[in-house]
Symmetry: C2
Subunit: 388 residues, 2 copies
C-alpha cells in the first residue's frame, strides 16, 4: 500500500423525501441561496425544482434561481453565474441536479471568490482563494461529485474539457433523496451506470500495486452491485431499492475512498473519454462505455492477471488466469453495456472518425494536465482505433 | 435501504513514518499537547513514545504525558486525566495507542469541558457540552476508534463496561503509521483481527434489510481481507503489506460506513461480549471470538440464507442455501479463530461459568442502554450456554 490522506468533510443526508430538509440545511449558511439547476422549463416539469423551492421558502431562505446547466457544462455559463453571484452575494450555492450541475456550482463557488477567470482556475493558470459554501441535491446519481472536490467543465470556444480538483469544492452537505431519481429515464440511468462503472474501473484496472485486496474487492463488489441494480431497473425503472442503492454506490465510486493506498495510477479511461465529449458533446457515461473497452483491449497483454480476476469475480466467468479469461472479462463487460443500451464503439455512439488525429492531440493535452506520461501520440491513435 | 446520515470529519494521514508529522499536526491546535498512552515503561521500551515526543519537540509543542492506560480502560484513570487536563489546560489531546487509549482520550476530551462526571456522560445521565480537540496515533489497528465517535470505557467499581457515542469525539486527525504495528505480537494481532471481524459481522449478520448488496459485499470483502492479512502475518509478522492493509481495514470496519442504509440492527455480539470483559477483563477481541459463534448459533434457524451466503462468499464453501451450508459457515469461522489462536468458548478463554446468571443481568443492562429489545433473560442464558 502507498501513503495517502483521506478527508471528506461533506455531510451526507440520505433517504426518501430528504429534499424537504433543504431549507433547514441552507438556513445554517444564511438567508439567501443561489439555486443552480437545468433548463427552467425542464426542472419545473419534473417536480424537484418546486420541492427545493418549497423547502427553502418554508425556512424563509430567499431563492435566487440560476437555470440553464446542460450536460458537459460550459465555462461560458459558469461565467454568467459568477457575475450573478458577485452582484447578488448569496450565502450558499445549491446545486439541484446531476454531475453537470454540481460541477457548475463547484466552479462557480471558486469563481465568485476571486477576480481570476474560472477557466484559468480549471487549467491551473490561476489559483482559487476561497469558495462560497456548497450544498447539493442529487437528481442523477453518477459522478460522485456530491462527495468529492472535483469539477469537470467544458470550454466550447476552445473545444476542451477540463477536470480539476480543489478541497475548497467539497460540498458542505449533500442531500441524496432516491425518490428524485425514480423518474429518471432508463436510457439516462444506463448512461449513469456506465459512468459509475468507469469510476470503479479507472483505479481498479490501472493501479500497479500488486496486493490491494481491500480496494480491489471494494471495486469488484461495487461493480457487481451496479449490475444488480440495472437488472432490477430494466425490469422496473421505479424499483425503490435499486434506485436507492445505485445512488449510494454512485457516491462512493469516485469520492476518493477506494483509491486510497493503491498509489498513483494513470486515468486513461477518462483521459480518452473526455475528448469524446469535448469533440461531439457525447454524454459523459456514453463516452466512458466507449473508452473502457478500448483501454482494456489496449492494455490486455500486460494485465492478464488483473482482467482474469475481474472476469471471475465480477462476471463469474470460470477459467484460469490467462489471456482467454482476461478477454472474456472484456467481452462480458461489453455485453453488459450492450444489454443496458449504452454505446461501446464510435459507431454505436454515432461519433465521426475523421478527426482522430486532432482528438489524439487533445487527449495528450489532458494527459499533460493530469501528469500522465505513459502515452505517446502513436499509442493514443492505436488506442482510439480499438474504440472504433 | 433505510435513511441515514454519514459525516466523518476526521482527516486520515496514512503511511509509514507518518508519525513524524505529529508535531505539525499538533501545532495547528496550539503549543501544549497532553499525550495519553499506555504504561510508561512499556511505551518507552517499544519506541513509538520516543518518536511521538520527538515529532512534537521538533515543532516546539510542549508535551504533557499521561501514562497508564490499560486494556478495557477505566473511568477511574480517565477521571485522573480529566483532573490533569483541567489544571494544565492542554490545547490538544493526543492518543498514542490502540482502542483503549483512543477511547480514554475521547472520554477525557468530553470530561475536560464539563463539571459532570465522565461516567455519567458515558451512561447518558449527563450531557457533554464540548470537547478538547483529539488527535490519534494508532499503534493497534482494531477498533475503528480513530475514525468514529464511539468510546467504550469500564467502571471497575460497578463491574460495568459502557459504550457511548458523541460526534464531539471524532478525532480531528488520525495518523495511521503501519510501521508502528510491525512489532505487535502475533497473539495480540490475532485478537485485534477477531475484533475487526466482530465489527464487520455485527451489522452484516444482524440487519434485517432483505436487499443491501453494496453493504453486504463490503462486509464480506473486508472479512476476506482480514483472513488474507492474517495468513500472511502468521507466516511473517513483519509483512509490511499485510500490516498496512489490516490497519486500513480496521479503520473502515466500524466507522459507520458499511452500516449506512442497512437500518436499525441489534448488536448482540458486542452486547454479550462486553460483559465477558466487564466480568473477567477478557481482552475485547477475545470476548468477540467467543460471542460471535454463540450469537450465530443462537440465531441459526432464522438466518439460514444469510449464513449460507456468508459461508459461500467468505469461505468459498460450496452448497445450497440451507442449514448445512449455514452451519458450515459458522464452523469455518470458528476454525479460523482457532487457526489464528483466539478463544472460541468460555473454556478456551479461561472464563469461569459460575456467574452466568449475574452476567445475563449485566447483558440486559447493556441491552437496555443500547435500545435492544429482542432478548429476554431466558434467551440470554440460552445464548450464553452456546458460548461455553
Amino acid at each position: 500500500m502507498f501513503p495517502f490522506e483521506y478527508h471528506i468533510p461533506t455531510k451526507i443526508m440520505f433517504g426518501e423525501r430528504k429534499i424537504n430538509q433543504l431549507g433547514e440545511v441552507a438556513a445554517t449558511f444564511g438567508k439567501k441561496a443561489m439555486l443552480v439547476t437545468y433548463d427552467e422549463q425542464f426542472v419545473k416539469s419534473v417536480g424537484f425544482y418546486a420541492k427545493a423551492v418549497q423547502a427553502l421558502n418554508d425556512k424563509h431562505v430567499e431563492v435566487l434561481p440560476f437555470f440553464g446547466v446542460k450536460s458537459n457544462p460550459t465555462v461560458e455559463l459558469i461565467r454568467e453565474g459568477v457575475k450573478l453571484a458577485k452582484t447578488e452575494k448569496p450565502d450558499v450555492l445549491i446545486a439541484v441536479g446531476g454531475g453537470s450541475v454540481m460541477d457548475t456550482v463547484k466552479a462557480l463557488a471558486l469563481g465568485a471568490c476571486t477576480d481570476a477567470d474560472v477557466w484559468d482556475i480549471a487549467t491551473g493558470a490561476a489559483q482559487a482563494t476561497g469558495a462560497l459554501p456548497i450544498v447539493t441535491v442529487v437528481t442523477i446519481p453518477a459522478t460522485s461529485s456530491e462527495m468529492n472536490c472535483t469539477s469537470v467543465i467544458s470550454n466550447d470556444a476552445l473545444k476542451r474539457k477540463e477536470g480539476f480538483v480543489n478541497p475548497l469544492m467539497y460540498p458542505k452537505v449533500s442531500i441524496l433523496d432516491p425518490e428524485l431519481t425514480y423518474s429518471l429515464p432508463i436510457k439516462q440511468t444506463a448512461i449513469s451506470a456506465a459512468d459509475i462503472v468507469s469510476h470503479l474501473m479507472e483505479g481498479y484496472i490501472n493501479h500497479n500495486d500488486p496486493w490491494t485486496p481491500m480496494q480491489d474487492r471494494f471495486a469488484q463488489g461495487m461493480i457487481k452491485t451496479v449490475l444488480d441494480c440495472m437488472d432490477r431497473l430494466l425490469k422496473n425503472p421505479n424499483d425503490p431499492q435499486a434506485r436507492a442503492t445505485m445512488m449510494w454506490v454512485a457516491t462512493f465510486a469516485w469520492n476518493g475512498f477506494y483509491v486510497c493506498g493503491i498509489g498513483p495510477f494513470d486515468a486513461p479511461i477518462h483521459m480518452v473519454g473526455h475528448s469524446f465529449s469535448a469533440f461531439y458533446d457525447t454524454p459523459h457515461g456514453s463516452a466512458m462505455s466507449v473508452s473502457i473497452p478500448g483501454v482494456m483491449k489496449f492494455h490486455l497483454k500486460e494485465r492478464i492477471e488483473k482482467y482474469s480476476i475481474f472476469a471471475k469475480e465480477v462476471f463469474g466467468i470460470a477459467g484460469d488466469i490467462n489471456e482467454k479469461t482476461a478477454q472474456a472479462g472484456i467481452d462480458a463487460l461489453v455485453g453488459w453495456f450492450k444489454k443496458i443500451g449504452v454505446p461501446t464503439t464510435f459507431a454505436e455512439a454515432q461519433m465521426p472518425t475523421n478527426e482522430l488525429d486532432a482528438m489524439a492531440d487533445d487527449i495528450l493535452v489532458t494527459a499533460a494536465h493530469w501528469g500522465i506520461k505513459t502515452y505517446t501520440k502513436e499509442m493514443v491513435l492505436r488506442l482510439l482505433q480499438l474504440c472504433l
